[in-house]
């Protein structure tokens, strides 16, 4: 791990991502279900349904348990008075540096599911890009937003 990456996301974030992964994959189950019913009316063979079920179960497990775990384990961030460091990624590990001078504005966001978990994400905009620290505890997110906003204002500068 890179030195200086002290902060992880909230442990609740993992649970949230697992639920998120599970729920967003749920609609895809319509496909094997539709196949099952249409095989009754048309003369589709029944055996592919078992293949579908196995494949979809594996995908569900992947989306629900494995991917969120990897992403959560990888996530690190650090906010100093000079810059914001974030490191994340599932397959490709990405490490981004945003200097405080370049921060144009910062805001927190919260979807309905996030609200249920008491989580919020912080998004940081520069003149060229938007970077997000997802799924922090509400109060941590608010504090981080205020801190970045104050630090960024101290070094106010145009594009």
């Amino acid at each position: 791990m890179q030195e200086g990456f002290s902060n992880r996301l909230s442990s609740k974030a993992l649970t949230y991502w697992q639920w998120y992964g599970f729920l967003t994959f749920l609609p895809f189950w319509l496909f094997p279900i539709a196949y099952f019913f249409s095989s009754k009316y048309f003369f589709f063979p029944i055996w592919p349904i078992y293949v579908f079920i196995v494949v979809f179960l594996m995908l569900t497990l992947l989306k629900t348990f494995i991917i969120p775990k990897i992403i959560w384990n990888r996530w690190r961030y650090k906010v100093s008075e000079h810059d914001i460091n974030i490191q994340y990624g599932l397959w490709i590990v990405k490490h981004t540096i945003i200097p405080m001078v370049k921060v144009q504005h910062v805001n927190t966001k919260q979807g309905p599911l996030m609200k249920g978990f008491g989580l919020a994400s912080v998004s940081i905009s520069t003149a060229a890009s938007i970077h997000e620290i997802p799924a922090l505890e509400e109060d941590v997110a608010a504090a981080l937003r205020n801190r970045i906003s104050i630090l960024a204002r101290v070094v106010d500068e145009d594009v």
Binding site: I92, H95, I97, K102, A128, S129, V159
Partner: protein, 472 residues
């Protein structure tokens, strides 16, 4: 209080002409339907008159409502027919100013002034479509004076360096531009538009049929007509380039660059130096054998429509570039040695081009007699990948990062440390094993930001760049 000024009434005409294309796009469908239907032709005339009349009225109203002033270090604009809008642009946020003299403006002795701020949205710019030259220079002075003290204002209007595009270079630039593709694509777009609005059967099938009837299966007629179309497109692109960059002049003033160009529509863009986000040097594939390059300026305000707007100089011999930069943009350096990519990245560059080409070639291989000739394309892709790998490079020196990469042409970006909005390093597991990384540099540009990226640098180089970025 402050006095709000109106535009010159010619703005109504300007507005009408600007919107006439849009007008026809909306009305051409109904017009064609009526023209081809057995209905009385009177309706055609009535719809056209009512439509144009409405447009004329709207143009007059919007001209009447549109007023501007400079007050309290802001450019204030009030406009809108139903919803009244007020836009206040703080002067220090202005990224560039463009003065255009189109045909309408020239008839009335007027100019059009576009003021642009960062961000690509239409809200981010103000367009004064027709004001007198006196109003324009007053506006320019107002926008400058606030920024500098008055005695400074004398100094900043002095031209330090100036360079014209010679006729010879203009001709070379026009003949080697890649405008031919634009012309062909544009031509196709227009043809398909026409086809959509014709109610009867496909007109092009008919034309095609009659050509086949005429030519039969003599191959050379088809080849000849294809050649004819290509030459026509090429000539059109030459004319287009000459009109757009004819009379090109760049001047360096104390605190900004002034770029003038255009034969029919004259444009004058002034870019404050501290608003320049990056310099881009493009060596097109047609121009590279002659050792020629184009120099572009990346700015947060300009170039929202065409990349043409950002040209700092259309054509320059490569060996003249250091000299040119020394005269006009001494803050940037090109005489640097690029660190090549890591050896381990070479295969990636070759495979990423070759594998898709091979996959595309396989069907041709199977179904055609001389299909194996298509393999040549895959071989070409292999060597092209190698060339891309060899030409790429990166350099950090003092306050500047330089990134060079090839797609088809060779692109070089020079970016100041202070203009980098963020840096991202990326590494996938394969790259981790090979100890290489990819880098992305974020810069502000007309489209709300863009990235300049390079894959396959050594991990240690990536970390070095990150430290350089962090520590300045």
């Amino acid at each position: 209080m402050y006095d709000l000024e109106r535009l010159h009434p010619a703005a109504v005409i300007e507005n009408l002409i600007r919107n006439i294309y849009k007008f026809f796009q909306i009305l051409i469908g109904p017009l064609v339907i009526i023209a081809t239907s057995p209905l009385s032709k009177r309706w055609l005339v009535i719809i056209a008159i009512v439509g144009l009349g409405a447009y004329f009225l709207i143009s007059i109203l919007s001209w009447y409502r549109f007023r501007y002033a400079v007050y309290n270090e802001e450019l204030r604009i009030e406009y809108g027919i139903l919803a009244r809008r007020k836009t206040y642009i703080p002067i220090e946020r202005i990224q560039s100013m463009q003065i255009t003299t189109g045909i309408v403006q020239r008839i009335f002795g007027l100019v059009k002034v576009d003021v642009q701020t960062a961000g690509g949205s239409s809200e981010a710019k103000a367009s004064l479509s027709a004001i007198t030259k006196e109003q324009a220079s007053k506006l320019q002075a107002q926008l400058n004076i606030i920024k500098h003290s008055t005695d400074m204002n004398e100094k900043i209007s002095v031209i330090k360096n100036k360079k014209h595009l010679t006729l010879k270079t203009l001709l070379i630039a026009a003949t080697t531009s890649n405008g031919i593709g634009v012309v062909l694509v544009g031509g196709l777009a227009v043809l398909s538009q026409i086809n959509q609005h014709l109610p009867n059967e496909d007109i092009y099938t008919k034309i095609g049929e009659s050509i086949i009837n005429y030519a039969g299966d003599t191959v050379w007629i088809y080849l000849l007509s294809l050649l004819f179309i290509l030459i026509l497109a090429w000539i059109l692109s030459i004319i287009g380039t000459i009109i757009s960059i004819g009379g090109f002049t760049i001047s360096r003033l104390e605190d900004r660059l002034l770029v003038q160009r255009g034969l029919i529509e004259k444009r004058e863009i002034s870019i404050p130096l501290n608003k320049i986000q990056a310099i881009k040097i493009v060596e097109g594939i047609l121009r590279q054998p002659f050792g020629l390059a184009t120099i572009q300026v990346v700015s947060a305000g300009i170039g929202s429509k065409s990349t043409n707007d950002t040209i700092a100089f259309p054509l320059l011999a490569k060996k003249e570039i250091p000299n040119f930069l020394a005269e006009f943009l001494p803050e940037y350096k090109t005489e640097i040695t690029y660190t090549p990519l890591a050896k381990a990245a070479q295969n990636r560059y070759r495979l990423i081009l070759t594998i898709p080409t091979l996959l595309a070639v396989i069907p041709i291989l199977c179904f055609f007699n001389y299909g194996f000739l298509a393999l040549l394309i895959a071989v070409l892709a292999w060597f092209w990948g190698k060339k891309q790998y060899k030409d790429a490079g990166i350099n950090i020196e003092e306050e500047q990062i330089a990134i060079r990469y090839r797609l088809i042409g060779l692109n070089t970006y020079l970016i100041k440390h202070s203009k980098i909005q963020a840096i991202k390093l990326k590494q996938n597991p394969f790259q981790k094993r090979k100890n290489i990384k990819a880098i992305e540099v974020y810069i502000a540009s007309s489209r709300a930001g863009s990235t300049v990226g390079l894959t396959g640098i050594k991990s240690s180089k990536g970390d070095e760049i990150l430290n350089w970025y962090r520590e300045f």
